[in-house]
Symmetry: C2
Subunit: 418 residues, 2 copies
Amino acid sequence: MIAEIIAAGSEMLTPHRQDTNSLYLTERLNALGVAVAFKTIVGDNLQHLSDAARIALHRADIVIFSGGLGPTEDDLTREAVAAALCIGLSRSPEILTAMYKRFAERRVSMPENNAKQADVLDGADVLQNNNGSAPGQWLDTVVDGHRKLVILLPGPPKELMPLFTEACEPRLAASLPERHFAKRWLRIALMPESKVDAIAAPIYQTYTDVESTILSSAAEIQLHFLCAKPTLAEAQQRVDELTSKVEDALDEAVFSSQGEPLEEIILLRLQMRGLTLATAESITGGMVASRLTGVAGHSDTYIGGAVTYSAHLKKKFAGVSDEILKQHGTVSDQAARALAEGIREQTGASIGLAVTGVAGPGPLLDTDSIEKPCGLVFVAVSDGVSTESLQKTFTGDRDRIRTFAAQQALDLLRQKLI
Amino acid sequence: MIAEIIAAGSEMLTPHRQDTNSLYLTERLNALGVAVAFKTIVGDNLQHLSDAARIALHRADIVIFSGGLGPTEDDLTREAVAAALCIGLSRSPEILTAMYKRFAERRVSMPENNAKQADVLDGADVLQNNNGSAPGQWLDTVVDGHRKLVILLPGPPKELMPLFTEACEPRLAASLPERHFAKRWLRIALMPESKVDAIAAPIYQTYTDVESTILSSAAEIQLHFLCAKPTLAEAQQRVDELTSKVEDALDEAVFSSQGEPLEEIILLRLQMRGLTLATAESITGGMVASRLTGVAGHSDTYIGGAVTYSAHLKKKFAGVSDEILKQHGTVSDQAARALAEGIREQTGASIGLAVTGVAGPGPLLDTDSIEKPCGLVFVAVSDGVSTESLQKTFTGDRDRIRTFAAQQALDLLRQKLI
């Protein structure tokens, strides 16, 4: 069984908008054991849309349309699918009555063009939309002797998602052979993708019944393992076995084996030990703090800190001495260590975490009169007993350097907490 | 002239990865006056890919393939296009020699499978890739009596973008009638899309020769105006005229008419007046600071500040009194004003900006023993002479509330600087 997703809407053929519904639909379809083989994005053009529908009905078993079910002249999915299947559309009196009723309740008269949202493909079941006015449609039909499932869904994600999950998934599951899926997910900070794969591939390649995916994003690699079996226990056993072998091989580089972000892992570890944390950020200017405060329920653990962007605030809020700034500069191992120690002392937190560096573009003439190259970063963590620090040079633009610097600061703290 | 973009790669049919090259290609094609009518995403499957190529060659004038040009068995774009066009592939001795040379320079022997990257479609021009090993290809051909331009590009954006811009755009421009494009872009903070459109639509709808697009993202609306004319002066005149009419109608709600982000506008205004800024953030925990430090070259203007997440740090770093916290709570107009005034005094900045609120999930039992609802936000700005503040209630999840709170803080400061 393969599926095709057709996203209808001219806005998705501009440089500014992208179809994102298909990511959600793909995840849900995969969980049912259905692979998505094609995605097509097409504008609000009856000819283009009906041609795309015809092609999809030929090459896929399940064809899901998103968008084009609204009341405007640009909403053409119903008409296009009817044309592609050479079937008719009938206006449903039930849907129409419900629409008139809804407008009447709001004491406004229904604009005439809204009525087309009541047009239903011959033979289709109506999928009631509790979050918007355009209902979905489900058609179980035959094209060229092959069974085809045709699903029409509204475009807004807030309407599409519940409609697919509640109305379509149970029907799809009933039409498909029973399979159970188990999934695991390893997250690795700051290791190059090629290095992760060199370690992981020899292991996951021996698990041919587990689908392995390696994904690289800013300063992080993710390994996803997915296994489908007739029972959940079988699937879970295979995926757990593979995950623990890969985790052993990657050792401490793995920061999460259940998908939690790095900042959440850190906050949980600190909380377990009853420790508090404060940050002093220069190059990252609040990125570490905003990641830590993005996790709900940890305001007793992360107490805050300072954005010590100027030399003055490094002294004022983290007590860094003039001597260090003059002798070693603001971007130095000594400054990073002094920031970590100072923010800890000033705030009374158990642990101080600091990051300083040159985000660029271009080098920095530092307070020690020495030019520091763009990408140079120092991170430090102090618990009052000892202070650890690390020097790194990151490449790329300002955004990338800052993202890597924030990740490196958090990862240094994670290492200290192991 | 219409174009179709085909993205080849099984990873883009997972829930985790999306084709993004097409956004860049669409922007560049639009600038040349070429509309993208279809986008197709297809996996690493020879049959699927050659079928998709055949369909695209039938319905579009320009067909651009991204991805599938690498050395592995999964890289099938060359073979699929050859099959769709019923033409051959020849191994180019020049490309092969260059590849051997490159490997020799790195003192490694070239793996045999790399040689397939030298396979060129019969009649195609090779587009030299200076950022990777797989060259692009350009084929000007005829299908069913119609001229077709077929372009093969490597998948990695770092390779695709320069190759398209440098090697393809001049050739495309030479094949198309001359048109010049002018573009303007208004950005509006914190106004609902429907309200912006109610004001702007009656104006832009009278400019039928200007393409108007309204885009809504987190706490911001953008209005894009694009006009194509035989000369740049004509296009610019129309788009400027429309932009200034809409800007007049929206008045102070518009924060940028050239596309700059809000934080950059603020930093430029502060810099022009020789003012410095410091921030004290509670609910946003560094988001305002990280936006301000994301703009290069303003470290003399934004000096830093504090992430006053705990009540203790509100006192310590921004001098907020125990009395205010006990009487009014940490989430109150009084606390926001005290934070703005205090961070200004503590840091010596000309202006202090502060934000406090409840990010949720759920309400907060505040230090004044009163429960504050999730989404309640106070922002304040102080210049030592006067302090302005604002109370808002935002809806949505933690992320959305924090994003809106940060935007509201920055917009309050912008209003003060007008």
